[in-house]
């Protein structure tokens, strides 16, 4: 008897988003990256097309983090003291193709820098590295509403990914991103209903669903990873079945969550393992961008992705 494999066919596909703009397009990046565009579940290569592998973004802060585990600080060395050197180290030494810059120093509790300085910082950073940028605010709503419009304008035409838009704080950022040609990170608290609602609110303001990347919020291995996985899976199944409001790529802050785990601090190797395992599970769940902290974890993940996609 001939066996016919059951091949699932989906009605829809995930939006394809370009990060970065080359000189010919009005930006200054040497290379651009595409994410999303798949019309099947993660890694089911026989069931559809998956034009882009998951991308690793190296997390860089605009000031030295005060509370990172020793292993992380040691791995990054003195670079961590200067955000530009840190960014250059990631690109030149670790072959980062994407950076995720967090503007921590503007937070009232961690530096309280003047909002006006944010524009210059981003302009300088764009001169020092030529990879596409993800730019994330400090997490304080009021401060982010003053610095992110400045940052967005400073990076106008560079097609960055800027975040984060939240259900109760999205209008200012959406307006800026819309005006300056960037894409947006829409963050929801491990809640598919809010993820969908926020995407609708953002698209109602005129920003296309094809310029939204969902941050579903994730938990590390042992800290809610399965729940995050199920939320991502549910959103992806709905998206592929035709729900355009959820058909956006995912960004997952795997490094941030993994290094918070107690187990990550048990030995120098534990943290790297925790970050790598957390991120590789998120690849299975459908992550399109993984924001990673440790260069060795990034290296392992890039190898893993290469194996999966070859």
């Amino acid at each position: 008897m001939v066996e016919h494999p059951l091949i699932e066919k989906w009605a829809s596909q995930i939006a394809s988003i370009t990060l970065g703009a080359c000189k010919s397009e009005g930006g200054s990046r040497s290379k651009i990256l595409n994410i999303g565009g798949q019309n099947t579940l993660p890694l089911l290569f026989k069931e559809g097309k998956i034009p882009n592998p998951p991308r690793i973004a190296f997390e860089v802060w605009d000031q030295a983090p005060g509370d990172w585990p020793v292993e992380l600080v040691n791995a990054l060395g003195k670079n961590i003291l200067d955000p530009f050197k840190w960014a250059e180290y990631c690109v030149k030494e670790c072959q980062a193709e994407l950076l995720c810059v967090k503007l921590v120093s503007f937070h009232p509790d961690y530096g309280n820098k003047q909002p006006e300085l944010a524009g210059k910082f981003i302009k300088d950073l764009l001169k020092r590295v030529e990879v596409p940028l993800i730019i994330i605010g400090c997490g304080d709503h009021a401060v982010d509403n003053s610095i992110l419009p400045i940052v967005s304008e400073a990076a106008k035409g560079e097609r960055c990914l800027i975040g984060s838009a939240l259900q109760d704080n999205y209008k200012t950022l959406v307006a800026s991103v819309l005006a300056d040609g960037h894409s947006i990170v829409a963050e929801s608290p491990i809640d598919v209903n809010i993820a969908k609602q926020l995407n609708i609110l953002i698209s109602d303001m005129g920003l296309s669903l094809e310029r939204i990347v969902i941050n579903p919020t994730i938990g590390a291995l042992g800290y809610g990873l399965e729940y995050a996985y199920s939320i991502m899976e549910r959103a992806r199944l709905a998206a592929l079945s035709g729900d355009k409001t959820l058909a956006c790529p995912f960004i997952c802050f795997a490094g941030q969550e993994a290094w918070r785990a107690n187990e990550a601090k048990l030995s120098p190797q534990h943290g790297i393992i925790w970050e790598t395992i957390t991120a590789s599970a998120l690849i299975q769940a459908g992550a399109d961008i993984l924001v990673i902290r440790h260069p060795s974890a990034a290296e392992k993940l890039n190898k893993h992705i290469k194996n999966l996609f070859s």
């Binding site: 598919v192 209903n193 969908k196 609602q197 959103a235």
Partner: protein, 262 residues
């Protein structure tokens, strides 16, 4: 839910007049209004008063597909009128409809195959309208068998259990609901199911309420598609909410608007 908008039908005086006057604007306005309210397809019926359906049907098809690329549901009991519509159609089509009678199936299934059209099969025959669930299932099975024998893909077949008015055949409605569920088990892949919703409330004075109550229940029995008035806002709200409860869509605060926009 695959919503087939019912409003372009010559039994409505405004449409009948537009057909006689060849007033494209009126037809197109009705097409676009239904699209805006969430229709997935549009039923096209010249109506009983049309004296020249072989001309009116293609004219309606051309008029509607000038403004939308939605699927068109060619609604006529006359095979020649359906074929005239199929010839004119560039959009996807559904033939509405065939009965379970062999002589009719032998003509309409090849026609559907020739024009790559979907097909609505009514669970009734020249003998009349079935009186219970078993008769409905038997007629449905005859239609499915004819499709399988001709190589017509069953997933493109929409089976209609024949919805009866509540004031005529109240005792049959539970059987009709169960038929919607059980049609799915006749073959693998399953056929789709459809009802002409407004039949249920013919001659009653609470038409909208009866329509939306039945639709909600039919969705719970797994109904795939309905021919209905998409401009009835409360009906659409009930439909969307029933599908939400069946876990067909993901909830969000503005789920009613989100559904209509997609």
């Amino acid at each position: 839910m695959f919503i087939i908008g019912e409003l372009i039908n010559g039994m409505y005086p405004v449409i009948a007049k537009a057909i006689i006057d060849k007033d494209k604007a009126v037809i197109q306005q009705y097409a676009l209004k239904q699209v805006a309210c969430g229709a997935s397809a549009l039923d096209i019926n010249c109506g009983p008063a049309s004296r020249q359906p072989l001309i009116d049907m293609p004219w309606l098809i051309e008029t509607v597909q000038d403004v939308t690329n939605l699927t068109l549901c060619l609604d006529s009991s006359k095979i020649s009128v359906i074929e005239a519509g199929l010839k004119a159609a560039k959009n996807k089509t559904i033939i509405n409809s065939t009965t379970a009678d062999k002589d009719k199936l032998n003509i309409i299934i090849p026609l559907a195959l020739k024009y790559n059209s979907s097909l609505i099969g009514l669970a009734m025959s020249a003998k009349g309208i079935p009186q219970n669930k078993d008769q409905r299932l038997e007629l449905a099975a005859e239609i499915i068998t004819a499709c399988l024998e001709s190589g017509f893909p069953v997933e493109n077949l929409y089976l209609d259990p024949i919805l009866m008015p509540v004031n005529v055949a109240q005792a049959q409605l539970k059987d009709i609901l169960e038929s919607i569920h059980e049609f799915k088990f006749i073959s693998q892949p399953s056929p789709k199911t459809v009802v002409g919703l407004s039949n249920i409330s013919q001659g009653t004075n609470s038409r909208n309420l009866i329509n939306r109550s039945f639709l909600t229940m039919a969705i719970a029995y797994g109904l795939d598609s309905a021919i209905l008035d998409p401009l009835d806002n409360q009906l659409l709200d009930a439909l969307i909410t029933a599908e939400l409860i069946m876990n067909k869509n993901i909830y969000c605060a503005s789920y009613l608007d989100a559904y209509r926009k997609k």
